[in-house]
Point group: C3
Chain length 352, copies 3
């Protein structure tokens, strides 16, 4: 038993967004994990991690579209060394998302989050991931993910094969590379990545943070080129549900859109205030839709929140955000229903 | 790891009921759980609980109609105090069921259980639950559960929305309140509750128990008004399967039934005898079906069982029950197939 | 917490087989388990075991055709004694597979495995299993598994009922018996078994191993009579997918085949060499298809591999195998796509 550490988070509370009922939901992602480290000698260690994600409001698996995924949060094994870094194989965190979210005061959690690009993926399958050691604050990482089977014999009958037959050819392998620096008051990060089976969609971003006293100021730029697929699934903005909905509200031709390009800026502030932390952010995203008859859309979002620490492991929070979408259609692309969407949430986070 | 306690139960054995083959199945519900308590100071503690329920005979999730529900038994986080009690958020035990089953010698487990009302629900979602401290034996509790989304925009396309479109309007919030007393030889409880998304169905009950020496005598009355829905699902007695079956056996019009009213009495005895416990109960339930052409039905059930303790954590059991249903139709409402149904089971319960 | 031991394996790597892309996959089956033993006194103990199997490359449940099966690897409770052995109830290892695989140098894992008979089943449901104590190396075991419900009333509407209506009558109970000897340089095993709901299909086998110095030589004979069903499911060689595929490649009438008979020999070598173990095997299997118009097929397989131990708990491995199928059709019966299929894999196994 000494070989295994059990850890986790349970977070839930109440969320109210424009055009939706009050519902129970989380801020920080709830999880139960098992991990271990074995010393192999010579400065080398073996590692493993298994992480189940769930929704406390219902006890359900987090990824309802893939409930088979018991270990949605992580399932990997690897070797690590203080000298040459760490290698992991299996299901791991996606590097671009993992590192840029640290520059969002809300860590991409809850109603106040940094707007998710439509190619955002928290965890990725079939991946070998490398993380360098930390050299005076400088560090880098890389991932390589095997895409869908490109051999006709064995892929036959699968969704990927069907898409290929139709000439979509979206079954590319995935890549990611991260360069980071974090030393003294300054932190910087840059990422470039392409998800597997994404029709060669790409995401790149840059983040910078500067600490002075109890405050930290953050700046993020991220650019997403979304060709409508990611990890073998069509993106929701290309789905029949979305197009049905748009059809009811608009004469514009979203059905012909084949690519979304999203350019987003975020300015953030974290401030240690009293027994907790005040967070605030302002965002601007521009969405360009190509291939249809949709003009460019602007999105502005403003958020503020306070996290009150009852202890190191338990805290209460309240977050408030307002998102000004150019119209309801682009709101729907990002999971909201009204062009002016406010969101408010209160809840509790407990770590163990 | 000291933050987490692992606990659970594995129980299985053999069950034979009239009109069914011998099968392997449990008495006490099998589960694996993780829970923890953190002392926040000032007499306040943070708590969490995650509980997976399963069927040992197959290793399958307990709720096969909802296998996404990894943490079927519990998924919640909260705060508690010796002074003001405990508050939990998430998926919790339903108060009415949790408290009345303590007045059934068989704890509503296995073939000898107190007949389940058709609105019985062990655990409920999207709930905030309060439990008072214990004041010289007196205590109370309350739950509030958020129902299905009542906003047309966001509910569109869901089963709840469809039902609303048809004018069913069953998407109410849920409530529950419990008053209890347990001191010396006497224990009393009273509950009133309404499940979420149940078309305003209700359950209320009263339980009383008196201990003298090694024996305890228990009396329960429960009344269920079932409008055909609970937690967003149609009850099985309204299902096509049920109606198909009734159609083969009867000219009565069960298809038109829209409400069931169930009034049930249970008299129970628990007796510490030798290295274990002898349990016995006698029950009477009256079922009134409204809206169709079905007369009132009486159900009588008699049960006896013995649990032999190998240790505090492990026991063997044997239970025997006979249920005298008015006819096969009402037997089918309660999951049996013959109007005179006997049930016998033997097995082993291990707690850890 | 002292009542529960957490244990497991995480294994993944890269696999390349003829006619398929490189993919990420495991050798040793990855799992997370919880088990415990309670001393009841008098030399008797209570035991339980729960084991989740998963695929680290994706974090998914192992049995994707039955993702409800949270505890795919084991879910059982029992009693054991040094005097009279052990009894377990629930989901347990299938005895024939569990014991014969010890005579395959590759333990029926990965690309180099002993060819799986089409009635191979790792774990079985609804089973009572007995394992004798070890008397100077001699030991035996037996299992009895409850088959699908044979009562018409309760089975109605289920796949098993439908098959019975059609006169298939495959809903037999399952049995298994094992006799073993393991003392000094010699190990022997013999099994006979019939899976539940298999239309009375049978498997029997014999294994022998002899150790001298750092080497062990093994010999296995196994005979499978497969009537097209196992544990209530049609075997994949009878599936529409298989028949569709055969139809594209052959004029022979596989559709009429109702029984497969598989006779297989395996000669194995395990050799402790350096900081690890060299494994090698040679196999011959003859497949007779009855009821259609398919001639007997021969399969030859040769495999070699090396496992390098980084510690007692962590190792790296590389395995290489070549399978010479008589034709593509019989390759497809055993999950491959080319008549000459090579397989190569490298990876890491970590136990905890």
């Amino acid at each position: 038993q000494s070989n295994v550490t059990i850890y986790g988070i349970v977070d839930t509370g109440f969320i109210k967004k424009s055009g939706q009922d009050v519902k129970m939901g989380e801020n920080v992602s709830s999880r139960l994990g098992f991990r271990g480290v074995e010393d192999l000698g010579g400065g080398v260690k073996a590692t493993f991690q298994l992480e189940n994600w769930f929704e406390p409001a219902t006890g359900q698996a987090k990824s309802l579209d893939d409930p088979d995924r018991t270990w949605d949060g992580a399932a990997n094994v690897g070797l690590k060394s203080d000298t040459w870094g760490a290698v992991r194989l299996g299901r791991v965190n996606e590097l671009t998302t993992e590192t840029i979210r640290k520059f969002d005061p809300f860590y991409q959690y809850g109603v106040a989050n940094m707007i998710y690009g439509t190619q955002r993926m928290l965890h990725i399958d079939n991946t070998i991931r490398y993380d360098s050691p930390n050299w005076s604050g400088f560090h880098f990482g890389a991932t390589y993910s095997l895409g869908g089977n490109t051999d006709k014999d064995s892929a036959e009958g699968t969704p990927i094969y069907t898409a290929k037959e139709a000439g979509n050819g979206y079954d590319n392998d995935g890549y990611g590379i991260m360069l980071g620096y974090d030393n003294g008051p300054l932190a910087l990060v840059g990422n470039w990545s392409r998800l597997a089976d994404s029709k060669d969609s790409t995401v790149w971003n840059l983040g910078a943070a500067y600490r002075f006293g109890d405050a930290k100021v953050e700046l993020v730029y991220q650019q997403t080129k979304d060709n409508g697929w990611a990890v073998g699934k069509e993106r929701s903005w290309k789905s029949t549900d979305f197009l049905d909905w748009v059809g009811k509200n608009s004469t514009e031709n979203w059905a012909g859109v084949d690519t979304l390009k999203e350019k987003q800026w975020l300015l953030g502030l974290e401030w240690k205030l009293g027994p907790g932390r005040l967070n605030a952010s302002a965002q601007w995203m521009e969405v360009e839709a190509n291939g249809g008859n949709v003009s460019d859309k602007d999105i502005y979002k403003y958020a503020v929140g306070y996290t009150y620490d009852l202890s190191k492991r338990t805290s209460l929070y309240g977050n408030l955000a307002y998102t000004d979408y150019e119209d309801e259609e682009v709101a729907r692309v990002f999971g909201d229903v009204e062009d002016g969407t406010y969101g408010v949430q209160v809840g509790i986070t407990h770590k163990f």
